[in-house]
Each structure stands twice: as C-alpha cells, then as structure tokens.
Symmetry: C2
Subunit: 332 residues, 2 copies
C-alpha cells in the first residue's frame, strides 16, 4: 500500500540511495555493471516508480506548463489546446488546462495557483485586465506567451492573427454594399474583437466606402439575434456580413435559416475561423481560416525557448499570422 521509494530499492539491491539515484538518471559511468544489474532487478521486482514531485522540488522544474484559455467555448480555443498538447507532448511536457471564462479574477487566481504548483511556463489568452500581474511576472522572468490577444505595455510575446489583413481580405471579397460586421461582446477590450472591428473600418476607408457605426455591432451570444434583427431592419439592410468568430457564425446561420435569407444573392457571408460545416452546408461558406498549427507551434517554441533561457536578444513582441482565405459559395 505504501509507495515504494528509492530507499526501498537501495535496500533490496544492497546499495546506497545515491547509487540508485545515479542509476535512475542514467549516469551509468558511476557504477559497476554488476550493481547496475542488481538495481535494475530491484526496480523491476519492486515495481518502483520515481516520485517526480520530489525530484522537481530539488531540480526546480516540473515539465508541466499551465494553459489559461479565455473562453473554452470557442472553437479556436479547443483547436489551439489540441495543437499545443501535441507540441508539448513531443518535448515531454504536460499541460494543466484552465479556463478563465473571460473573468479577470479567475484568470488571476489560476495564474497564482499554477505558479504555486511550480509550472515551468504559462501560455495564456489574457482577458486584458491584469497588466500589473503580468508586468511583475515578466520582471521575475517567468516564461509566458500570450495567444490570440496581447496586453498593451507588457513585454510578453503574443501569437495572434493578423486581424487587419484578415478584414481587408474579407472586405475585398464582397461585391455589394452596405457591409456589416458582428462580433462578441466588447465589454472587455479583447484584442481580436477590437482589431477586427477596427480592421473593418480601415478596409472600408481604404476603399472610400462610408463607415456607418450602425453596421458595426457587438454583443453577448444571447443578444446576437436581436442584433441581426436591428441590422436587417435598417432602411438599407446589409448585403454582405462578416461573422467575426465561430460563435457569431453559428448564430448567423441560424438566423439565415429562420428568416429564409438567400445567400449569396441577398446576402454575402464571410466567417472568421474555418467552421467545420463551412464546406458542406448549402451554400458553402467562405471563411478566413486561422493557421492553428503554425500558431500553436510558434507559441510552444517561444515558450520552450524562454524556459531554456534561450532568450533572443531582440525578440519581437507580436507574431502575427496571416489567415487563409477559403473561398466558397457564400461570396460568389
């Protein structure tokens, strides 16, 4: 019942604890082939498993990293988690996954507990509200990488979509006006939401199209249907609409079906995030796919470099990834 320890193995093999420790760390030069064999047998016989916590306590490294996603409900979050898991698994790291649910307090608490658990590094989708916390951690050289979002004036690298190019690419696809964009709530200044709306405005400006804030909307999922109602009650209903993320895209699909809107003739549609149904729904939906795998790989690589203290001298703060346009029937 009681766990077998290194001492049990040592006793069984008739050697000292430290020799067993050497063996476990594969420093075989420090022992005879004979003792090595004895220890091998003892480990097998006793079904010995080292206690990595005790080891970590000594070595100050746990081979586990903390992930804090802002909202596990988004498709993008789960896809990133999956990709990160694959990356870190290759390097022998485990991930503790937490959800801040876009709640800065929960975010802070998770960060603290994760640090108390001595994780080697942190990957977080920041809510945007804990600047001081991150500034402090950064000073303490805690390895951190942001994904999807960043915090102004905090020198922590962030991996995210090039939201401005994305919106430019989107606007470029539409043939008719007016254009609208809808995203989830801006109650917090969340990077992709802010940037996508701003990118939308820039793309219109660049083309000398009028910017009318009545066509630039945001709201909680529960309010989205009402938002669409308002949009389509305007004297000039939108002829093209950008769903700024997968949640909005889904609401839009429901709305389109319910009100029997004709895509793309009456309304053209582009969704950010390559939702799985985009290609087989009728009509198929044009999307801006985030390059999940490269983004996850970059994040993992950045974090691992920091953990190994391979700090690049002048590392950029923002790593922006260009989306992949999947042209389909909703923008023909």
């Amino acid at each position: 019942m009681k766990k077998t320890t290194i001492a049990d193995v040592a006793r069984y093999a008739n050697v000292s604890n430290s020799t067993v420790s050497q063996y476990l760390n594969k420093r075989y030069e420090y022992m005879s082939t004979e003792t090595r064999k004895k220890i091998e047998e003892a480990v097998e016989a006793l079904q010995y498993r080292p206690n990595l916590m005790a080891r970590s306590l000594k070595q100050k490294s746990t081979f586990t990293i903390g992930i804090i996603v802002a909202n596990i409900i988004h498709d993008f979050s789960t896809k990133i988690i999956n990709a990160l898991e694959a990356e870190f698994d290759k390097k022998g790291f485990h991930m503790i996954v937490c959800n801040s649910a876009d709640n800065p307090k929960k975010e802070r608490e998770h960060v603290e507990t994760l640090l108390e658990k001595q994780v080697d590094g942190l990957i977080v989708f920041p809510t945007g509200e804990n600047q001081n916390l991150y500034i402090r951690l950064n000073q303490q050289k805690m390895p951190i990488v942001f994904i999807d979002r960043f915090i102004e004036d905090v020198a922590i690298p962030a991996v995210l979509l090039d939201n401005f190019s994305a919106m430019d690419m989107a606007v470029e696809q539409f043939q008719k006006q007016p254009l609208a964009i809808v995203t989830t709530s801006l109650a917090l200044p969340i990077t992709p939401r802010v940037e996508r709306l701003e990118g939308f405005r820039q793309a219109l400006r660049k083309r000398d199209l009028p910017i009318d804030e009545r066509y630039i909307k945001n709201g909680d999922p529960s309010e989205i249907e009402e938002i669409f109602n308002e949009l389509f009650a305007l004297e000039q209903p939108p002829r093209g609409i950008i769903a700024a993320n997968d949640r909005i895209a889904q609401e839009l699909m429901v709305y389109i079906k319910k009100h029997n809107l004709h895509v793309p003739d009456d309304l053209q549609v582009i969704a950010v995030d390559d939702v799985p149904y985009a290609k087989f729904i009728t009509p198929s939906i044009t999307t801006l796919q985030q390059p999940i795998l490269p983004m996850a790989q970059k994040s993992a690589a950045l974090l691992l470099a920091k953990i190994k203290k391979e700090q690049l001298p002048h590392e950029p703060q923002l790593y922006r990834f260009t989306p992949i346009l999947m042209e389909r029937d909703s923008t023909i």
Copy 2:
C-alpha cells in the same frame, strides 16, 4: 530572483517557520492576533507564495487529476474535457490533459508519468488494451474512472452512453429500409463502436428486419468515402443511415452534398452526437445527443468520492446515460 520561502517570511516576521505554516493553513487559533498581523505583513511585503509541490510532497495530495482522452479529435472528447474542467474547478482541482490518440502504448506511458507526478486520480477514455495495468492500479486503490468506454473484467466504474437504447431509438425513427450504420475503425475493440453496431443489430432483430452485414460498416476516416461508395453501389442502397459519431456524420454530410442525395426522401439520416450544425443545415439533422454535462458531473463525482475514500459498498460498474433524441427534418 530566488524564490522567497516560508523561512524568509518567518525571519521577516520574527517568528518560527511552523507558526508561519500554521498561518498559511489558516489555523489562527494557534497564535496571537499580533503575530498573525506580523505574518500577514511579511507575506505581503515579500510577495510570498507557498510552494504547493513541497506541500504536496508532505501531504500526499496534489489537487490535480490526470485526464487521458483516447482521441482529442472527436467533438465528444473536447466537450467532455470542457465540462470536466468546470466541475473540477469548482472543487479546486486542476486537470492535466493528455491524448493517447488511440495508441495503447502512449496511453500506458501517460498513465505512468501522471502517476509519477502524483496525480490524485485519473479519468480515462481507455483504448481497451491495457487490462493488466488497470487491474494493478485498481488493486493499489488508485482512483480511476473510465468514460465512454470500459474494459472487460476490470472493476473500474465507467460512465458511458446507453448505446443499445440509442440504436433502438435510432432504428425506431426510420420509415424505410434497408438501414445502414457506419462507424470509425474497429481495429481496436472500442466500446461505443462495438456496442453501437451490436445495438443496431439487436434493434433490427427485435423488429424482425433482416441483418445484412454489408450494411454494417467501419473504417478509418480516410476510408469513409469509399465505404459510402460501396454502400450506395449495392443493388439496394440504404434508405436510412446512422452516422455513429461526429466524424462519420461530417463525412456523410460531405458525401450527401457531393452526390446530391436527397434527404430525407431518398435517404434518412441520424447522427450520434449533437453536432453544432445539425439544427441550421438544410435539411436539419436528427441527432442522438449525449448528455455531456450529466456524464461529466457523474464522472467527476465518482472520482472525487474515490479520492476522498467515500467508497460506496456496492457501486455499480457501469453508469449508462440515455441519449436525448433531437428529432429534425432528416427523418421526417
């Protein structure tokens, strides 16, 4: 740079380590309000954070549990992970999430490392291949709960769908014959796949319908298109088809669009797992929704009970959950 420890706090506050430890564990009865205040200040001034690993080493409990999903690619897995995260978060537990990718060797390795990291318990989607491992762990009283699948002759509770009722409900919905079912690869005897095919056979038998194995198929995602080709090349193509999980459902949707099959007139469709697009695609798809939240709650509760040694005397081994039928246009 060096982490501040309990000793630093003790020195700063002019008390002993153990008094600080008492304070940290909120055993305030054992100290004067004065010293309590002093320690409070010291903790604040030094920005002290306890090292939970050191604590765990002593107390033999880490408040982290290991999750091993068989295939993170399935919608069901990520939904369960999300629900579990919420449950365990409530109780102050963290989760280390691993993916075995349906590879028994990876599964075993993850189990071992997780144990070495001293997780308090394990929730796993077993591949089905490591009976001996689980039997051993169960003897050692390691708290474990299976989800979605179980292993024969291993006394570990499993939370899963009532696949037999599910198939009966599905068959009941169809109005025309012949009926077919397709699931992912049976290279490994994975519970839901085996049970859904068997449940399908039972449902046919019960209704005195012929059982023709040519209509009961399985294969890797890459082979699915070919499987549909075979199915629809039969002298009597299926008039109703069950997609036994979300991956198959997606392949089926693509196939239907590509070959312009008419649902539900030519072909009726039911999918297991309530895929997000089911309600807004045209025609909408009838699904058998797995009750994710109750399943996650049950699993978490079972595991936590085991961890707290509240072992029920005669706990059942299998907790089967009835699916929720979402009747939509694909089976009208």
